[in-house]
């Protein structure tokens, strides 16, 4: 037995226990930890936003370097406050439109490249596979699974005949995939739990090695 004497270890340990107490049910300890968690994280975000973004990206260029172009995002940002005025509240859509346009524009080519072109490349059968029967069979099954799954996601057509059978196969692949993915993740989550238990039992209480 080798209990930690560090005050911060104690604080961390107690907060850890408070969160775990939620497994039993909602209770004052959990409520306390939850509310502290939210408050501290927002306060932290404020500090980070100021030191990492607002100060170096806006204040310094604007006031120390006289870089007036930064007035544009500042102006767009200030438009958020238009919601406080009834007549001007529509203006909040201007920065929202700006941000949405940005997000959509970035998404189109990036997603096309990563999720379509690269995935097609990874799914194709190549002559190299002919050298290894097991890999060839796996790739053919894979390709079949991909085709069936895609067919399952057809929306504008009634699923009947061959396409219905294919879509059913698609569901089979989906379910096997989801099951595997679930089973696979259990391990990672248990590792996280073990990390917390090690902290409590070893670093805090000194009960285990």
């Amino acid at each position: 037995m080798n209990i930690s004497l560090d005050i911060w270890t104690w604080i961390s340990a107690l907060l850890t226990l408070f969160i775990f107490s939620f497994l039993y049910g909602d209770n004052p300890f959990y409520k306390f930890a939850e509310h502290i968690f939210v408050g501290v994280s927002v306060g932290y975000t404020i500090a980070i936003t100021w030191h990492n973004f607002l100060y170096p990206d806006l204040i310094i260029p604007l006031f120390k370097q006289g870089n007036l172009i930064n007035l544009i995002p500042a102006f767009l940002g200030i438009l958020y406050f238009s919601v406080f005025f009834k007549n001007l509240s529509w203006m909040i859509r201007i920065p929202i439109g700006f941000v949405l346009g940005y997000g959509s524009g970035v998404a189109i080519p990036a997603i096309f490249q990563a999720n379509i072109i690269r995935q097609i490349q990874g799914s194709l059968l190549t002559p190299k596979l002919l050298e290894r029967t097991d890999l060839l069979i796996a790739s053919i099954i894979s390709l079949f699974g991909i085709v069936c799954t895609i067919i399952y996601f057809f929306f504008s057509r009634e699923q009947k005949g061959v396409s219905k059978i294919m879509a059913k196969c698609g569901i089979i692949f989906l379910m096997i995939g989801f099951g595997a993915s679930f089973g696979f993740t259990v391990m990672a989550r248990v590792s996280l739990l073990l990390g917390r238990l090690q902290f409590l039992l070893r670093d805090w209480l000194g009960l285990i090695r």
Partner: protein, 370 residues
């Protein structure tokens, strides 16, 4: 400088320029690199690469092994002229190459990304074509999506029980298009909630999403003629921190006991924490995300789950707006094209194993990404 030059030239014994190089502007870059190619190699141990800026001496900038032929110098400045010389080293002997010149230039168009451009153009055309068709009033069929049929029922149930509806728009930003899809569904849910006069709670993790969600709900209320019923405090921001947000939403679920939970948008590890807590409170749960790793958890813990693309189809389905249905049809044709590309390219690639069809092996190159 002159001295060094002489030194180099003295090294050439019998083989005058039997080592040859070529300097090229590296294609598809911002003009910050040059490519030095050894076009005529020699039997040496390794190569040394020398670079000279205008008005300065040659300096050693790198080495290549005897097998390597290509050196990319990314320490150059755009639009300046550089000269290069490669020295082949074998034991104590040195062999020098010709001097190659190059000017790094920036390109306006990345030709290596032409595949993406072609794809986007074809696909955009498909979408717009079917939207236009829908605009002309053509009837378009959409198959049932079970999770979405449940939306009305879920809102109704909350009304009957006199309990609130919880709508979690995920933890993504507005740049995650899944969030936008979720906000579109939020608009439809908000309209129904306004009509039934049911409380709608929308906790947010991202401030920008919060501002959009706020607008969407407010507009939905005024669109169905109930602007008075809109309560500002019900659409709120909690925190940016993933798990603090999760902890708080868990708290809301166990304390306010909503009758219906919607989890739509981008989700990470919190998916199951939220869905399990919601399941324990006995709420009807409708989830939907395009984050593939999280789908299994929603499927096991929620009543209905919109899988991937179904989330995007949802806003079209719910609103029955012909324009949006048109785009769904376009998406289907997009998938059809992908299917054909997968099958035909695979076939041709396998055929390329035979010498007669070896030309088809080039197909794979079209799908290179850079």
């Amino acid at each position: 400088m002159r001295k060094k030059f002489l030194f180099f030239n003295l090294l050439i014994f019998s083989l005058i320029f039997s080592l040859e190089i070529k300097v090229l502007d590296t294609p598809n870059d911002a003009g910050n690199s040059l490519t030095i190619l050894i076009t005529k190699p020699m039997d040496v141990d390794y190569y040394q690469i020398y670079r000279k800026e205008e008005g300065k001496d040659f300096i050693l900038i790198g080495k290549l092994t005897r097998e390597e032929r290509c050196f990319i110098d990314d320490k150059v400045v755009r639009n300046k002229t550089y000269s290069y010389q490669v020295i082949g080293i074998k034991d104590t002997l040195k062999f020098s190459s010709n001097i190659g010149y190059g000017i790094p230039k920036a390109q306006f168009f990345n030709t290596a990304r032409i595949n993406v451009l072609v794809g986007i153009i074809v696909f955009s055309f498909l979408i717009l074509y079917f939207i236009k068709k829908a605009r002309k009033g053509e009837k378009l069929f959409i198959r049932r999506i079970s999770g979405l049929d449940a939306v009305e029922e879920a809102v109704g149930r909350a009304t009957e029980m006199g309990k609130p509806i919880l709508f979690v728009p995920g933890i993504g930003s507005v740049a995650d298009i899944a969030t936008i899809a979720a906000l579109n569904i939020l608009g439809e849910v908000a309209k129904k909630a306004a009509q039934y006069d049911t409380t709608l709670l929308v906790p947010n993790r991202d401030v920008l999403v919060y501002t959009v969600a706020y607008e969407v709900v407010k507009e939905a209320y005024s669109n169905v003629g109930r602007p008075d019923a809109f309560k500002e405090g019900n659409i709120f921001y909690i925190t940016d921190s993933q798990f603090a947000y999760t902890a708080a939403v868990d708290g809301i679920m166990v304390r306010e006991k909503p009758a219906t939970n919607f989890f739509l948008g981008t989700f990470y590890a919190e998916s199951l924490i939220l869905a399990e807590t919601g399941a324990a409170t006995g709420a009807i749960q409708i989830a939907g995300t395009d984050m593939v790793p999280q789908l299994p958890f929603f499927i096991v813990a929620c009543d209905y789950t919109l899988i991937g693309e179904e989330l995007y189809a949802a806003s079209a389905y719910l609103s029955r707006e012909p324009l949006l249905l048109g785009s769904l049809k376009g998406q289907d044709y997009g998938k059809l094209i992908i299917l054909f590309i997968l099958l035909i390219s695979s076939l041709l690639l396998l055929l390329s194993n035979f010498p007669t069809f070896s030309i088809f092996s080039k197909i794979i190159e079209f799908f290179n990404v850079s």
